[in-house]
């Protein structure tokens, strides 16, 4: 059974957080807080030294997590521990290919089997995915596809053939946490994606507030949103005070859970 197959039809909320950030023990508290709200999806970012598709905030979070020598195994253990309380929440890993390769593709998939519902390998393009996709699907883990505004129709068709889980539509031609949202363009592109695939389209990159969430829901035909950088930003805004951060996190998640 894969939680991603039973996502609600509308207003899907996916929350992204870097594993081991800011430290492993505090990271547990953060994920427990997130999980207590039972969002539809939690995305677990595995820290990487060179996260070139992420913005400065997530890069900083990665750096902090890695500064205490966090290992891939520790991140996976954390996810496993949390999965006991996942209920209907879908667990998705977001990572870079070098992390998976170095851990060993088979070993990695074996470790997350029955724990994780989906995986986004940011720098694994369609052209290189076939082998990994096969072993993921054997183990009932969905390979989530990223679609950017630069992806043309023909390419989207190719990419989304037989895809499962949800489509991660990158709302701005930008990296996580940057640029302004152009609802018209988002709507146009989401609509055209919906003609190609039946699975939900989630809009990510650059969603910062309750207002953004409502606008996406009102002005576009997207099925939900992904929030990442905005969640992490609060930690730095609060001068890295973990108790204040946990309170702010609770308040923020309640707000965006519309």
């Amino acid at each position: 059974m894969n939680n991603l197959d039973t996502l609600p039809k509308k207003k899907i909320l996916s929350l992204f957080m870097t594993c081991g950030f800011p430290t492993l023990s505090q990271s547990k508290k953060i994920f427990n807080e997130m999980l207590s709200h039972q969002p539809d999806v939690i995305e677990f970012g595995l820290p990487f030294s060179d996260p070139m598709a992420d913005g400065p905030i997530i890069q900083e979070a990665n750096k902090l997590a890695l500064s205490s020598n966090l290992s891939t195994q520790q991140s996976l253990n954390l996810i496993k521990e949390l999965s006991k309380f996942k209920n209907n929440t879908s667990f998705v890993i977001m990572c870079y290919l070098n992390t998976v390769r170095k851990f060993g593709v088979d070993k990695f998939i074996k470790s997350i089997k029955n724990i994780v519902d989906g995986i986004i390998i940011v720098d694994l393009p369609f052209e290189e995915e076939s082998e990994i996709k096969k072993s993921l699907s054997k183990n009932n883990i969905h390979l989530i596809k990223l679609i950017s505004p630069m992806t043309d129709k023909k390419r989207a068709h190719k990419l989304l053939k037989g895809s499962k889980g949800f489509i991660y539509y990158i709302s701005a031609t930008g990296i996580t946490g940057s640029n302004k949202l152009d609802y018209k363009e988002i709507n146009k592109n989401v609509k055209s994606l919906k003609k190609v695939s039946k699975i939900p389209v989630l809009v990510g990159f650059g969603i910062k507030s309750k207002k953004d969430v409502l606008e996406i829901s009102k002005k576009t035909s997207a099925d939900g949103v992904i929030i990442g950088s905005a969640l992490i930003q609060k930690y730095f805004d609060l001068k890295m005070d973990i108790s204040k951060y946990l309170i702010a996190l609770r308040k923020f998640i309640k707000e965006v859970k519309v």
Binding site: M52, A53, L66, S71, N98, P125, M150, I175
Partner: protein
């Protein structure tokens, strides 16, 4: 060995290379690949580039018989391929001219680049000035500090320098930031990568533009020596000058080829940039190649006295050439390079950059009293002006006096 024909259509050199980037970049790279393929058949493009090579860069660069150094080594007859005489003082300009002509043809109006030693930054700023395009250079703040003359040069040429404070604050991080800029500004921006690294088609494209070095050297040596060289030697950071010299000789099986990496304080220490001696295959900046990484695949910081070699990755083609044993790679320490830097200056009246000083150091070390009657070409890929302060400090000379 069969005729060398790499990479394949998806940018693989054997198992290395490829395009490991997010979907935000993928359509751009595919488009770039298509445009590059088209332009390769374009005679007008070729003519334009050759004119610039001749009249703007000053090509062909000379092939100088380094008599005094040869005598000192008491080994092979050493020739320098003098790409340090190029306009802007290094080989980097060859590639920048090729890429900016391509950018023009693609209708791009803004240029970005990364730089380590500053040579690629200067070359990019130069071609941007020539073609009247705005230029943004990403440079690690550590490199800005140790390459001040080049920073000033870029500014004079009208470029905007964006200091990079993340990670090790050097070339690797500058490249991360430049890639981010590209993702954000995909529609109008062309990213001029300076080395044979990064995702396809860059490693192939940069090699092709740089291979003018090897093509000229081949003709020149055949003219003076009436035979092919026995050895080629060049320094390797990302690997563009080396690929430029090596590529036109890869099918000449009798020519032995040597790449020299920067081993920093020693290839077995943590402070090294000798990717192929101390690293393992992994993915960095969109390409599968040897990298310096830990057991979890986190990329390590590199160290070298030479900013141009201070990179924890290496071009995928070098990784392939290492694995098929067509090229042998060795490491040279900061200290050895500094000694060679001084030896070459005194003996030949040529102050080399710290990058080719690594190749020189290996040459002096490995060929001393050996391989007599052989002919060798060393790629003198850059001049040492930019390194004067770094070298003076390391040698213990007070350059401010």
């Amino acid at each position: 060995m069969k005729t060398y024909k790499q990479p394949n259509t998806v940018g693989r050199f054997g198992e290395f290379g490829g395009m490991y980037v997010s979907e935000t970049l993928m359509p751009l790279l595919l488009n770039l690949d298509k445009s590059y393929k088209k332009i390769q058949k374009d005679k007008k493009f070729k003519k334009e580039l050759n004119d610039l090579f001749k009249n703007y860069v000053g090509r062909p660069s000379s092939l100088h018989y380094a008599k005094n150094l040869s005598k000192y080594i008491n080994g092979p007859k050493v020739y320098f391929k003098r790409d340090e005489l190029n306009h802007t003082g290094a080989h980097k300009i060859n590639n920048c001219l090729g890429q900016i002509l391509l950018a023009k043809k693609m209708g791009k109006t803004r240029i970005i680049a990364e730089t380590g030693a500053g040579q690629h930054g200067v070359a990019t700023a130069t071609v941007c000035a020539l073609f009247g395009l705005p230029c943004y250079i990403y440079m690690g703040s550590k490199d800005i500090e140790r390459q001040k003359p080049n920073v000033f040069r870029m500014k004079l040429l009208g470029a905007t320098i964006i200091p990079v404070e993340s990670g090790s604050k050097s070339l690797k991080d500058a490249m991360n930031e430049a890639l981010r800029d590209w993702i954000k500004n995909v529609r109008d921006t062309f990213y001029i990568i300076g080395s044979t690294a990064g995702p396809h088609p860059y490693p192939k494209m940069v090699r092709d533009f740089q291979s003018v070095i090897g093509k000229e050297a081949r003709e020149q040596i055949l003219k003076v020596e009436k035979k092919l060289p026995d050895y080629l030697i060049a320094c390797v950071g990302g690997g563009s000058n080396a690929m430029g010299l090596f590529y036109p000789f890869l099918n000449d099986k009798k020519v032995k080829i040597i790449g020299v990496e920067a081993a920093g304080r020693g290839a077995k220490t943590e402070e090294t940039a000798a990717t192929m001696t101390s690293g393992t295959p992994g993915i960095l900046h969109g390409s599968y190649s040897y990298v310096l990484q830990d057991n979890d695949g986190q990329i390590k910081e590199a160290h070298s006295i030479s900013a141009g070699l201070d990179y924890p990755g290496v071009g995928p083609e070098h990784s392939h050439l290492k694995d098929i044993k067509r090229v042998k790679y060795f490491g040279v320490t900061d200290k050895e390079a500094l000694e060679a830097f001084q030896t070459c200056s005194k003996l030949e009246g040529i102050i080399p950059a710290l990058e080719p000083s690594h190749a020189l150091a290996y040459l002096i070390k490995a060929f001393k009293n050996k391989h007599k009657n052989k002919v060798l070409i060393l790629n003198m890929c850059g001049r040492g002006d930019k390194d004067l302060f770094t070298a003076a400090k390391a040698i213990g000379f007070d350059a401010d006096e």
